[in-house]
């Protein structure tokens, strides 16, 4: 007898002689079937009391349950106890069958793209500095989205009054945009050459040479515990105050 057929009670079983030492009556088999059907059809896990109320009297629920649990032990579906009640559940190792990945293509807003670009070129950069370059306030949502992309990260805190958080790009950023290093971002001349910048830019127009090195700059302090959660909130409040005269999405 193969293991599979044991587990699944294959048809080969008919021919074998009955085991006299534990001859289960037809009624025992019937009870097992009832229990199985009850548990299968129930929308919620069933307690032993609930099962007892619905099966014929004088049925040994506990032993039936353990028998059924054993029968399903190595199978694709197991009989499990959750919060003291019983239910069938997909075997843990097969959980992947019940998951399907769906990727959604999302486009970054212009505000997010601009903010990302500034962070890339000017890093480490604070929110106030981003706003200075963009000329508009940056909404919390924009930075949230960028943090969600995994392309930017909080680096540390600038050693200036208010100790604002500094932002920089990540390796995932380089990965996504096919850059070997952040210095590969085109400079002023290349931008102009590509026609992205007007040749008529002012004389004092500078495109910084970006640097995403892990090391903090002299004027950066490391982030403290809790910063990851607190920083944005805090900055948001600062931003709110400044909002009055600025259109956030201009």
């Amino acid at each position: 007898m193969s293991e599979t057929e044991d587990q699944y009670g294959g048809s080969g079983a008919q021919g074998r002689p009955g085991n006299v030492t534990s001859l289960p009556s037809a009624s025992h088999r019937y009870e097992l079937r009832m229990l199985e059907a009850l548990l299968f059809a129930s929308a919620d896990p069933l307690s032993e009391d609930e099962i007892e109320a619905r099966l014929p009297e004088r049925v040994d629920i506990a032993s039936l349950l353990s028998e059924l649990q054993q029968a399903y032990a190595g199978r694709g579906v197991n009989l499990v106890r959750v919060a003291g009640k019983w239910a069938f559940r997909t075997a843990d190792d097969l959980a992947f069958l019940l998951r399907r990945e769906a990727t959604e293509q999302k486009k970054l807003s212009r505000a997010a793209l601009e903010t990302l670009a500034i962070i890339a070129y000017h890093q480490p950069v604070t929110r106030a500095e981003i706003e200075e370059v963009r000329g508009v306030t940056t909404s919390k949502g924009t930075l949230d989205v960028l943090l969600e992309t995994g392309w930017i990260r909080m680096r540390g805190r600038r050693r200036t009054p208010g100790r604002p958080v500094t932002y920089g790009t990540t390796d995932a950023f380089l990965d996504h945009f096919g850059l070997d290093e952040v210095r590969d971002l085109p400079g002023l001349e290349e931008l102009r050459g590509a026609g992205l910048l007007d040749s008529a830019v002012p004389i004092d127009f500078l495109v910084p040479s970006p640097d995403d090195s892990e090391d903090l700059k002299e004027d950066e302090d490391p982030l403290e515990t809790g910063d990851m959660f607190a920083a944005l909130e805090e900055e948001e409040h600062a931003g709110d105050r400044a909002d009055g005269d600025d259109d956030p999405e201009r």
Partner: protein
């Protein structure tokens, strides 16, 4: 048709109804065919061997009874009664082979078929309903484990988008203030007023430019003044107030007032002499 009493037919060969007496309750029937089927069942024979003649008579008796009780019968029932009366007459009279109408036997067979078919549909509908039905007799998994869709956002942005965004915003903010210049535009009305006044004052041919020099001091106004003056002069020519002359293409354009209209036109223009060129803000 209901007034003809076509149902007053002798009921001599109506078999004694078997079982409970027929209760006249039309509301209980799903139409005449259903009533016929119920009557047929009372014959307690296989529908294939039913006596359509007897059935027709029972139906007519039923309708007769209902009418005696002054019960409202739906038109369907009366139409069926008329048809059955016709069928009965066809069945009782000897067959005439003179027309291509179906024989009484054929009509009876058709009715029997319809009754059998309706009964068959009733039967299978009952069999269908008595099957083990989902949600009543058999059950699916009570707590289905649904396939969880794990949504992952994939952000779509190219290096080009990024550089565009950077360059355009830097550029935008590097030019701190852009002044939108105002341009003085000569309207057609201005040109007409001025031409009328100046040309009207002179009597002889003169180059049109000579009248306009004073208004073309600023180079940016030159084009507007020339264009409007030319259009206005053409308009005046069409109205017969001035004459234009040009010896060959691109040669100076000469203009002079026509004497006949001179006097009144000048007087009129004097009254509206205050016209000034408009300034319009350019869209750009």
């Amino acid at each position: 048709m209901a007034d003809d009493e076509p149902f007053e037919l002798p009921l001599h060969d109506t078999p004694e109804p078997q079982g409970p007496a027929l209760v006249v309750d039309v509301d209980g029937y799903e139409g005449p065919l259903d009533l016929l089927l119920t009557l047929a069942r009372n014959q307690k024979v296989d529908l294939t061997r039913i006596s359509i003649l007897a059935l027709a008579e029972q139906y007519l008796a039923f309708v007769h009874e209902a009418r005696k009780l002054r019960l409202e019968l739906a038109a369907d029932y009366l139409v069926m009664a008329a048809w059955l009366a016709y069928l009965k007459s066809r069945l009782l009279l000897p067959e005439q082979k003179d027309d291509d109408e179906p024989t009484g036997e054929e009509l009876a067979a058709a009715l029997a078929f319809r009754l059998r078919r309706l009964e068959a549909m009733r039967e299978v509908s009952a069999r269908l309903m008595n099957r083990n039905r989902l949600g009543r007799d058999v059950f699916p998994r009570g707590a289905p484990e649904t396939v969880a869709v794990v949504r992952r956002s994939e952000w779509d942005a190219t290096i080009y988008d990024l550089l565009m965004a950077y360059a355009s915003q830097r550029q935008r903010n590097s030019v701190t203030s852009v002044q939108v210049g105002k341009r003085t535009v000569w309207s057609l009305a201005d040109a007409r007023t001025i031409l009328t006044r100046l040309v009207g004052a002179a009597a002889d041919w003169a180059p049109i430019d000579s009248y306009l020099v004073a208004y073309m001091a600023k180079p940016e106004e030159r084009v507007s003044v020339l264009a409007s003056a030319f259009s206005a002069s053409l308009e005046l020519v069409r109205e017969g107030k001035v004459e234009l002359r040009q010896s060959n293409p691109f040669a100076p354009l000469y203009i002079r007032w026509r004497a006949c209209v001179e006097a009144e036109e000048v007087a009129e223009v004097d009254a509206t002499d205050e016209a000034r060129p408009d300034t319009e803000q350019d869209d750009e």
